[in-house]
C-alpha cells in the first residue's frame, strides 16, 4: 500500500460504492413495472375506473420508489458529501 494516496483510495472506493448503491434501482424498477402492468390489466378490465386506478398506481409507485431513492441518496452522499474523506487520519 505504499505510495497510495489514502484520499484517492477512499474517493475511488466511494465511487465504486456509489455505483453499487445504485443497484438498489433494480428493486423499484421491477416493482413499478409490476404495478404498471397490473394497472394496465385493471384498466383493461374496468376502463371506467381509469382515473382511480391511475392515481392509486402512481401513489403505489411513489411508495415503491422509496428504496430506490434511498440508494440514490446514498450514492449522492458518497459522491458529493463524502463523510469518509474526513475520517482519513492526517
Amino acid at each position: 500500500m505504499e505510495g497510495l494516496d489514502p484520499r484517492a483510495f477512499v474517493l475511488g472506493c466511494s465511487a465504486i460504492g456509489a455505483g453499487l448503491a445504485m443497484i438498489a434501482g433494480i428493486g423499484p424498477g421491477i416493482g413499478q413495472g409490476f404495478a404498471a402492468g397490473k394497472g394496465a390489466e385493471a384498466v383493461g378490465r374496468q376502463p371506467e375506473a381509469r382515473g382511480t386506478i391511475t392515481s392509486t398506481m402512481l401513489l403505489g409507485c411513489a411508495v415503491a420508489e422509496s428504496t430506490g431513492i434511498y440508494g440514490l441518496v446514498v450514492a449522492m452522499i458518497l459522491l458529493f458529501a463524502n463523510p469518509l474523506v474526513g475520517k482519513i487520519a492526517g
Binding site: 459522491l79 458529493f80 458529501a81
Partner: protein
C-alpha cells in the same frame, strides 16, 4: 465559488430553518391573498346558484300545480259546457213546445173568435135581411092594405103579426 449538493452539518439546520420560514411565509401569503378569497367567492356563488335552483324548482312545482289545476278546470269546463248545452237545448225544447202550444191555443182562440164573429155577422146579416124582408113585406103589404084599410088597422095588423112572429123560430 463554493457550493454543495448535500450537506449534513450545522449549515443544513440553518438552511432548513430559512426554507421553513420561506415556506410558511409563502403558504400564509398565498392562502390569505388567493386561496381563501377565491374559494369564498366560489362558495358564495355555489350557494347563490343552489338557491336559484331551489327557487326555480319551487316555482316549477308551483307552475305544475297551477297547470294541473287549470287542466282539470278545462276538462270540467268541457263537461260543464255539454251540460249547459244540454240544459239549454232541453229548455229551448220546452220553450218551443210551450210556444207552439201557446200558438195553437192562440190560433184556436182566434179561430173560435173568428167563427163567433162570423156567426154574429151572419146573425146580424140575417137580422138585417129579416128586417129588410119585413120592411119590404110591410111595404108591399102596406101598399096592398093601403088600398083596403086605414092606417090604424094596418098598424094593428103589423103589431099582431110581429108579436106572432116573435114566438116563431126563424129557420136558419
Amino acid at each position: 465559488m463554493e457550493g454543495y449538493v448535500i450537506i449534513l452539518d450545522q449549515h443544513t439546520l440553518v438552511l432548513v430553518a430559512i426554507q421553513l420560514i420561506n415556506t410558511c411565509v409563502l403558504c400564509f401569503a398565498l392562502s390569505k391573498l388567493l386561496y381563501k378569497p377565491v374559494l369564498n367567492f366560489i362558495n358564495a356563488r355555489k350557494e347563490k346558484i343552489a338557491e336559484q335552483i331551489d327557487s326555480a324548482e319551487a316555482r316549477l312545482s308551483e307552475a305544475n300545480a297551477l297547470k294541473a289545476e287549470y287542466e282539470n278546470k278545462l276538462k270540467n269546463i268541457d263537461a260543464e259546457r255539454i251540460q249547459i248545452l244540454d240544459e239549454a237545448r232541453a229548455q229551448a225544447n220546452k220553450n218551443s213546445q210551450l210556444i207552439i202550444a201557446d200558438a195553437k191555443t192562440e190560433a184556436n182562440n182566434i179561430h173560435n173568435r173568428a167563427m163567433t164573429d162570423i156567426k154574429r155577422e151572419e146573425e146580424k146579416a140575417r137580422d138585417e135581411i129579416k128586417k129588410q124582408i119585413i120592411e119590404v113585406s110591410a111595404m108591399v103589404s102596406g101598399k096592398f092594405i093601403a088600398a083596403n084599410m086605414t092606417e090604424a088597422e094596418q098598424q094593428q095588423l103589423v103589431d099582431d103579426t110581429i108579436s106572432d112572429l116573435e114566438g116563431v123560430e126563424w129557420l136558419n
